[in-house]
Amino acid sequence: MLAWLRKKTAAASAKPIAQTDAVTLSEVTVDRGERTVLDGISLSLNERSIGLVGDNGAGKSTLLKLLNGLLLPDAGTVNVFGHDTRQHGQFLPALAGFIFQNPDHQLIFPTVAEELAFGLEQLGQSAEEAETGARAFLRQYRVEALADKPVHCLSEGQKQFVCVLSVLIMRPRLLLLDEPFSSLDLTTRHRLLGLMQTQAERVLMVSHDLELLAGFERVIWLRDGGVHRDGVPAEVLPAYRADAMARLHAEPAWGTEQ
């Protein structure tokens, strides 16, 4: 399977390129009511694969949503390949693809071909062109048998695969992944990640799967709305794990009296 995934790399790099190669956040703050979710964060995200770790509520998903324009910063600027998300938000869906945790929340059409065609229509193709394109794309991945399958009949792995394809068909340069593998088996995780890394020039992934993140170029550890540590996985991941364990032992266990 991986062989044909690699074959696709050349085709992907031929896509039209936007103005710059930089993805940056400058002094970005996001408030949700009383709580500050991200607090004056500045980051350059230029590696091929970046992992995001941190506790629940640390601001990981918020960071992803900023890069796709789903959320706008309350202060500071987010720039994705030269597009300020506040001013050029309309370009972002095509540049930064988003894959969510639950495929059932992301697949919006009854059949697989329609799901893929939607992305092409979003890029301005007519319904017929999009339909043809979607089928060709499925054929390229040797899964044309899925084309007319109702989405709700697919297995979890197939569903997430279709989610990935329906985003890849828009040829995004950056992929934003919000714990996309939680319900998938190990083989499928690695397959999908391999596919995405060959198809997009950059991948930014929120995950609790530290094993998977070990193969990334960079890992950012968010805590309380700020960057706690930032570096290669070999440094950040052990520190993150040690910290989580230390806190586990420092606090009384659930169900015990203080």
Binding site: F98, Q106, E121, P150
Partner: protein, 207 residues
Amino acid sequence: MIALYVDRQSWMHRLSAGSKLLVLCVSSMLMLPVDSLPVLSAFLLCVLALYLSAGREMFARIALLRPVLPFLAIIGLLHVLAGSYAQAGQVLIRLIAMLLLANLVTLTTRMRDMMTAMTPLFRPLAPLGLSPRRLSLAVALMVRFAPVLLATMEALTESWRARSSRNPRWRLLAPFTLQALRMAETVGEALQARGGVAVARERVSRS
């Protein structure tokens, strides 16, 4: 009746959506004034024969009629009380035949083709702000999420049963509604992440 498209290629799948809708429309209009029981029964038999010709699996889909049975019973009863058995028979046979025929069209037509065939009918509504694209997206979402919502309800019932021996009945209604609303929000977000409902033609100029 929300019937789901069956992904199986029969001769009826290959007919165009427009022609199937036209047949449905014409036969409904023809059958409406007919009162003769033999003619109506023959019509029903023809519809059943169509199901059979599309394959055994498709024939099994007649079971989709089951949720409508109580309503049919009520309608039948009303006609017996207000008229005669014969009249009740006419009405019921006509209704069942038409429901089954309409259902057959849904079963063998992809939503996209259906919407394409119906788009010209929606065009007069465009000045009112109801674009065919929005409409077809709404229909697609409905078809897509009917089974998801059913699964949600099943999951809720299961987790209730795991902790209680009694039937949940109406008490799952509130949690179900909350889950459905939250799901709607997430789905909206996913839609927006891919560019939203607006047609991107004028929007994305990637040169």
